[in-house]
Symmetry: none
DNA sequence: TATGAATGAGTTTTCATTCAT
DNA sequence: CATGAATGAAAACTCATTCAT
């Protein structure tokens, strides 16, 4: 059976009869969910963009929730690939820049639909009632964790908090950008964040000792 | 008829006949929407919380959208009152602190449900398709505008961007806090933002001339 | 109480407090019903055009059906007045012309809304299930009866059938006019009917004896 | 999917899976709509008659309007078949007789429910507000167009107006018949119309040149 | 596996009618 | 008599999920 094996099987070789229908389903779901939101996306919608009959979705996913979870996982997986690519860069500073560049270059669609990860995380939070849904956590934790590593690389003892500040700064900017439908807003704030990262990096390079006393957000 | 709100009567003393059922409706809606999200809140839910039959909602609101809009407006109206209270404080610095205090003291519910304004704005953005819905804009614009005034009070030429950075920083932090169900995260970030505000204020007081060259996020 | 006394009280002197609210109600109902149809007209609609609170309708009419019936009766009553006016004319021929003129000069609204009497009769037929509703009968019977009298005045033994043919011709033309939204169609057919009436009248005048053998529709 | 009718399959043999549920739906709708009127027919009514759950209607028709439209189209389609059958007759005169026979032999149900086409057209006119609905036009236009062809076949220059007169005469008679619940009324008027058609046909045969000067309704 | 077709519970919305004052 | 407010029963429509083949 196909239920429950999830992420391992996903990128393995596809058998002839099913040229990765599951993948089409997941990426279709991702797209429609991004544009319309989870709650306003019906399985019929997904089926249509994926070119798959509705009933067939249930061969690949037991419930709508499962499909949504898979879409979330795909986002996480993409993030993983991104991080791997960024690993090739020379410094944490460049890598953090790379992340911000990537996030803000989703093609101006942020003003139209918001940040894919942030909006999805927000919806998943509501969807699963009070207890945190594992997927929504993953979405953002993945980013925060990675950013934390970069700040650790800059030898910051408060790396976790800096990471949170960075991601929060970006996600908040994306929310405002979406709400006000103003792409420039995102550009401005991303630039601010880049400069902020630069200063942290500069401080790390110049005076690696004097750091820890300075306030969190302001280095 | 009751459609088209009687904004004057709304907060006045309640006459015996209708112990402000409309208000009960709106605040019931606000609460349930905050907890479950707009899409997952049925009018039956709201009716139950407000203790009235579903059909009766339609005496006060022509559509669900109207009720949601009223809930959003109530948020904006509350913000207005908050700002008025903060106006009593002596300095922009204190006022900005006041805002952050208020926002983060919604009773620890941020970890459970997120920021009421941010999550609502996010949902409204999706609800009304691609074009921005007036309510979701208002929600955040109200805050940004007010914050901008405070930064103008600190004689910052980049007041708008600072305001955006502040609100974005807070909203992003709230999103992460909610997603990770970690109240401390919010506390940390709010503290960061407070310090950041303090530094901007200090700079304004000490060397009002040297400001403009410094980078945006780091004063 | 006001229920049930209906047509007598209607045109009597109005007491100061109620400047014929009932009348305003009835004529409001007539108008809206004509434009939107009985089923698509809500009591709220009627109340609005009449400038009367919804609840108050029930002082004058026990049910929606009663109000509709009153609207129908008002049409009949108007017809009565029309017939009285036409009585002043010299010949049946002129009177029948007068009826057709009146019916087709409702201001081109026939193309927009159909014949007020015909459409209402049609709706009432459906509204009251299988057994004929007294009001819908009255609506058309009143016209047919009167027309019959005119043909009797032309000394036609088949007066009833001629009357039916005339009214049917008109109502059918109004239906087509409405459906095709083509005012000229009505004008054409009314002209046809006028000529047909003329010929019947001519025949009556010229050869009062030769009549009875000719076919019904074709004189 | 089933939306967007499979007009070909509709009247073909039914495969085991779906014993033409769509057809059952449409003809059920036709029947109930005929008897109760569009506005007073709920989808639940139709579902019951068709023996299917309400929700399932929406698999075949996106909205109630669509179902109603399908019912109207079915009427038109039936008319098409009728006309094809009538084409076999030798003369326009016989064909017009055939139409009238068919229309008035709907089983005496005209007195109970009116003319299926006329009543439906009337309701559709109201349903779609002021602008003509395509279906209601089609209903009557189809008949008028065909009748026009027959009068053209009788070499009448005023064929269109004669066609309108014929259909209007019939529809008006059906309306009166229904309103007065008097089947004889219809019989009488249909006979009149037949005779009228005969005279036109006779005139065409005898003196094909002398026609155009005569009045419209009276040949 | 695949798929068109069910199914049924839920959601928004409308409205005639009633009620309390 | 007047009226704003209430109420509950429908109605149209949606959709996740299941089923038969």
């Amino acid at each position: 059976m196909a239920h429950g094996q999830a992420s391992i099987a996903r990128n393995t070789v596809v058998d002839a009869k099913t040229p990765n229908k599951r993948d089409r389903l997941v990426s279709g779901a991702r797209r429609v969910i991004y544009e319309r939101g989870v709650e306003r996306t019906s399985l019929a919608d997904v089926a249509e963009v994926a070119g798959i009959p509705v009933g067939n979705i249930y061969y690949y996913f037991k419930t709508k929730d499962d499909l949504v979870a898979a879409a979330a996982e795909a986002h996480v997986s993409d993030l993983g690939e991104l991080f791997q690519r960024l690993e090739a860069l020379d410094s944490p500073q460049e890598r953090l820049h790379g992340l911000l560049d990537e996030l803000s270059h989703v093609g101006g669609s942020v003003a139209e639909y918001g940040c894919p990860l942030g909006t999805l995380a927000g919806e998943l939070d509501k969807r699963n009632g009070t207890m945190a849904s594992p997927q929504s956590q993953q979405l953002l934790v993945t980013m925060v964790d990675w950013a934390e590593q970069q700040f650790v690389g800059l030898e910051r003892g408060d790396a976790r908090q800096l990471a949170v500040a960075l991601i929060a700064g970006y996600e908040g900017a994306a929310l405002l950008t979406h709400s006000l439908r103003d792409p420039e807003l995102l550009a401005d704030q991303v630039q601010r964040l880049q400069q902020w990262v630069d200063e942290i990096a500069d401080t790390a390079n110049q005076a690696p000792a004097a750091r820890s006393r300075r306030a969190l957000h302001d280095q």
